[in-house]
Amino acid sequence: MRIALFVTCLADTLFPQAGRATVALLERLGHQVEFPRAQTCCGQMHVNTGYQREALPLIRRFADTFAGYEAIVVPSGSCAGSVRHQHAMVASRLGDGELASRAEAVAARTFELSIFLTDVLGLDDVGAYYPHRVTYHPTCHSLRLLRVGDRPLRLLRHVAGIDLVELPDAEVCCGFGGTFAVKNPDVSTAMLADKMRNIVATRAEACVAGDSSCLMHIGGGLSRLSAGIRTVHLAEVLASTRQAG
């Protein structure tokens, strides 16, 4: 299987460890991963802020760059959701039917990491070892756009050494919402405050999620409070082993 990594612009720039962990994990599971360097950004920020015309070249770039791969793995529910649910919609709204059908074909082969591991590779146990107390925040787009269900939790429950604590009101948004966080900073912060209160109540060492963007938001809040809880991408937990852990 020819697998490409779409690392996402955010992880590429600010959270490269999430991308490196995704590569390490897939290689450990016996797969070769390619990183097509023509990739940049899925355009989600533009689409969700109303700038669809500006997003169109990014959507075309994504379809061009990943056309030749059997599977495109994304360590982000939100960016995978954008590819799957927005690319073809934007292309057809702007009258590019040819791009819309190509985007649809590529989207069908684009998988969020936990969906790729469980559905495509058929794994719940990836042989990871992570001896820490963690809680898991299911991100909105993985939950309600991609319907990941309990897949990430199944993967986490199979991690050796882990102490997985349930997060109260886990399915409530953390308040990030892309440009929402700066357009409505007060509401966003109020949502974050409640999310952090629930995370702190778990007495976990780390909050785990499948989206670097939500983790940046939650982590930024926890750091400002000096809460002593770190944020870790799901890929990093799953990539961790007894040897490398």
Binding site: D12, G50, Y51, K183, N184
Partner: protein
């Protein structure tokens, strides 16, 4: 200017087009706030009593709804049926409305058509005057809140008495509704007791804040109003075209008093409330109570078609209101917002609404459905902050009993807003310029890598792995959250070095240039 009630007419994009095309009327009335959402929200967030009241009330309703929805094995099929019926009704709205008019008239009722709030208020005021009444009793109705009917009646010397308990609390408190179903959700019982003591002339001064005591005080106050009223005014939850039947669903029985005791009954209804067939009601009467109050069935369902000789009101009117709805119908993506049956399930699951309450939305329609409906009814420029009043978390879509894809409409309206703004101005604003620049940088891996290198200057701002202050507009982020310090190495640099490719830096890739 002609209004085509219920016909999907195009809204002209340019002024000069309006000479040829019929123009759908804009919604007027209580659909706009005085402040943009972020400003109004900031005020609401500072009210700790409001936050506590809302968190308590929405959590209670959420849990009740979840429980009764889980009981039905065919809930998803019901949602699909509800959505399909509404889609069918809207596809031939003109036909269904004319059929409704014909059947309702044949049974002795009178139908009036109002293109906007102003016309509807004039019609209702004229009917109340013709009945010789100076006081009317009202059934809880969103649409009469939308058109500001009480104020219009007051201006004509007619006092309107709200008979729904929560609407009465809002009216006596000189307040505005903050929730579609629970208009006084922002008040707790201590505040309600205080309002009753202050505003009910005949109330027992020893009134406690015990809920049954509060309900009894309202009952005694309202009973006198019901018995003396000559005119009742209602909205409608549904109107069945094939039978000419109007339907009101409620919990208290006060609505039934208003619908049956007065001699004259006037119903104001948005044109999207019509459903084609009697059998369609069976779907909605299952969906609505479970989604709204979390009950299996609502206590009171009243239905009437025209008049029944010598029983109940003998002078019965129906005012069909457009007020921006035809303009919503003209928007292919947005028209599904007209499926809304005003259950308010989306409000109760919305993390934004739960924290700000309804007043922050400005319009009588708050929460996720209000964030899409209000801008479409008024024109986006009049409610430009509302489509952005959501984190796009999607909880509303999952809860909606008629499957309105609110997140997709929000994204669509943001695009409409950006495109309309760009058409109206020569120079891009700061946000549009930033977005264009970001898109330009992202359109080429070489430029993207260069931007990443530029961003690494952010390392200079870092203290202990975090940045505590960023310049505006990103200061809105660092006001409450730290920002990550850019790492020494981006992913693509790591990949290039790890995979030993001397041509690794994307600058070298001709294929990386933008189209």
């Amino acid at each position: 200017m002609r209004a085509f009630l219920g016909m999907p007419t195009a809204v002209p994009a340019r002024e000069e087009d309006s000479r040829e095309l019929p123009v759908a009327p804009r919604g007027v009335g209580h659909l706009r706030g005085s402040d943009p959402f972020p400003v109004a929200a900031r005020r609401a967030l500072a009210d700790s009593q409001l936050r506590a009241n809302l968190a308590q009330a929405t959590a209670t309703i959420r849990a009740k709804r979840a429980r009764v929805v889980a009981e039905l094995p065919d809930w998803e099929e019901l949602r699909s049926a509800g959505s399909a019926i509404k889609e069918r009704a809207l596809a031939n709205l003109d036909m269904h409305l004319e059929q409704l008019e014909e059947r309702f008239t044949a049974r002795g009722g009178t139908v009036h058509w109002a293109r906007d709030a102003v016309e509807a208020n004039q019609i209702v005021t004229g009917l109340v005057r013709a009945a010789g009444a100076s006081e009317v009793v009202k059934v809880k109705s969103m649409v009469t809140d939308e058109i500001g009917l009480n104020d219009a009646l007051a201006a004509a010397g007619i006092s309107a008495v709200e008979t729904d308990l929560a609407e009465l609390i809002v009216q006596l408190g000189d307040d505005r509704p903050s929730h579609i179903l629970v208009p006084a959700i922002h008040r707790n019982r201590a505040e309600i007791r205080e309002i009753f003591l202050r505003k009910m002339a005949d109330v027992d001064p020893g009134l406690t804040d015990d809920p049954p005591a509060l309900a009894e005080a309202a009952r005694l106050h309202l009973r006198r109003k019901f018995l003396s009223a000559r005119v009742g005014i209602s909205g409608a939850n549904f109107a069945v075209a094939e039978t000419g039947t109007l339907c009101v669903v409620e919990s208290e029985g006060n609505g039934r008093m208003c619908l049956t005791l007065p001699q004259t009954l006037i119903t104001v209804m948005g044109i999207e409330k019509v459903i084609p067939a009697w059998a369609d009601l069976g779907v909605f009467l299952q969906l609505l109570p479970r989604s709204s109050t979390g009950e299996r069935m609502n206590p009171y369902t009243s239905m009437w078609a025209g008049i029944t000789p010598e029983d109940g009101p003998q002078d019965v009117h129906l005012v069909l209101l457009d007020n921006g709805r035809t303009a919503v119908l003209a928007d292919k993506t947005g028209r599904q917002a007209l499926h809304c049956i005003r259950c308010s399930a989306c409000l109760n699951v919305c993390p934004v609404y739960e924290r700000t309450g309804g007043h922050a939305y400005g319009s009588v329609y708050p929460g996720p459905i209000g964030a899409v409906l209000s801008p479409m009814l008024t024109g986006i420029e009049d409610n430009a902050s509302l489509p952005y009043a959501s984190s796009l978390c999607g909880a509303c879509y999952d809860a909606c009993p008629v499957k309105i894809d609110i997140p997709s409409i929000l994204v669509h309206l943001r695009a409409r807003h950006v495109e309309e703004t760009a058409r109206g101005s020569r120079l891009p604003g700061p946000e549009a310029a930033t977005m264009a620049l970001a898109a330009w940088a992202m359109a080429s891996p070489a430029r993207f890598a260069a931007a990443q290198r530029g961003g690494r200057l952010g390392r200079l701002l870092g203290r202990g792995g975090q940045i505590r202050h960023l310049p505006p507009p990103l200061s809105r982020w660092t006001r409450a959250r730290d920002a990550p310090v850019p790492p020494a190495q981006t992913f693509r640099q790591w990949w290039a070095r790890e995979h030993g490719d001397p041509q690794s830096e994307p600058e070298a890739q001709a294929s990386g240039e933008a189209e």
